[in-house]
Subunit: 206 residues, 2 copies
DNA sequence: CGCTTTGTTGAGGTTGATCAAAGTAAGTGG
DNA sequence: CCACTTACTTTGATCAACCTCAACAAAGCG
């Protein structure tokens, strides 16, 4: 992405809109008119399949772009896991702006890579490593800080379970184990606080 | 993709090049100067991770575009599973041609969806369903034909296993079971021939 | 035809799903 | 403010699926 210059693009865009906790950005199946660049907050996207199974397709944060579709309808539903600010990107803007097209393309490639890496994590690792990696994934943007920041967890354990493809009981057990081992603290059910990064990374298999 | 017109794009492209069985299109880590549109043949792409684990990132066929990278290096290695013809697409072409950019973007989105659907298959399904779905995936382009065509299988069972995230023994057992049940025939180790599509689809969970 | 590689088949152990029950937290109405 | 409800989480016990290890068969190759 180094060869792109976004300055112009950014300036021509509308100011961010505010979305509150639990707000739905778009529904799976709706006409995909907008994409969103996340300025702050955490977003979760998921797909519902016939038979009731649900796959969480990702957790997104600052600078991620969601709602990418080539045509027709949104492939997933996106909801806010916290309050946040989002920059809407219309299809009209997209079609007119080559810089934006490049950026969206880059973002799609990045998400593709990330999905492939997810495949690896989910098929090769034991549940212990999956949960560890999940926590590290959510902690990623905050890693640079002084490490005291809280990680925003999904609304319920089942959300984590649906992302990792394990049962909610297993999520519980692994989180409890990390707590017992002094690697992670849980001030409440919606937040986590990593004490020992190296230990968690070791468990994630890094 | 309905709003795109490829006619012009296609005409300006070079004629396809021929690649033979086992030919390597590009290596993971190499400078990503070319993408390829597959005109015929089957391509397998994989990543090697530290620790020796390997993830097959996909099997590609006619009209798929591989070698998509935003910057720098190829994320995976691509090899021919059969003889085939490929249309090279240079970065220069890509940068100059808006139609081509759109097509590549569409392709990236499609691969993203396909990767997400793979995540679902690999985490939610039992090995039986995984192997069934794998066979159906490879059979996809031939489905419309009279159904007597042979499916080109990867070079060894381990390739399938690495794609599905199961052991090669499990692949063997599941394939043997399908054969025993009269759903699939195996003229030799490199090819399969689906007898009973509905039964296989039922096992894949469709 | 030996030798090597790959595939198949069997036995046993481990992981994680499932089922079930008890524990927590938050909301609701009296 | 407190029972009561509801939804979620945690913990335990059981069981099935799949991995691992190992032996054997088949195929490829000099």
């Amino acid at each position: 992405m180094a060869y792109l210059d976004y300055a112009e693009t950014v300036q021509t865009q509308a100011t961010p809109i505010v979305k509150l906790l639990d707000a739905v950005l778009y529904h799976q199946g709706d006409d995909a008119t907008m994409a969103y660049r996340i300025k702050s907050g955490v977003v979760m996207a998921y797909q519902i399949y016939s038979g009731g199974t649900r796959q969480i397709t990702g957790f997104f944060q600052q600078d991620d772009i969601i709602g990418l579709e080539v045509d027709g309808a949104y492939a997933d539903t996106a909801v806010m896991l916290s309050d946040g600010r989002l920059q809407p990107i219309s299809r009209r803007q997209f079609m007119q702006d080559p810089h934006l097209q490049n950026e969206l393309y880059a973002n799609a490639c990045e998400q593709l890579r990330s999905a492939q890496s997810l495949v690896l994590s989910l098929t090769r690792k034991c549940s212990d490593a999956k949960v560890a990696e999940f926590l590290l994934h959510l902690a990623r943007p905050r890693r640079c800080g002084k490490g005291r920041d809280l990680i925003v967890l999904p609304k319920c354990r089942q959300d984590i379970a649906d992302y990792l493809g394990v049962s909610s009981e297993t999520v519980s057990r692994r989180l409890a184990a990390f707590k017992r081992q002094g690697i992670v603290e849980f001030p409440d059910r919606r937040s986590a606080h990593i004490i020992d990064f190296p230990a968690l990374e070791a468990r994630a298999g890094h």
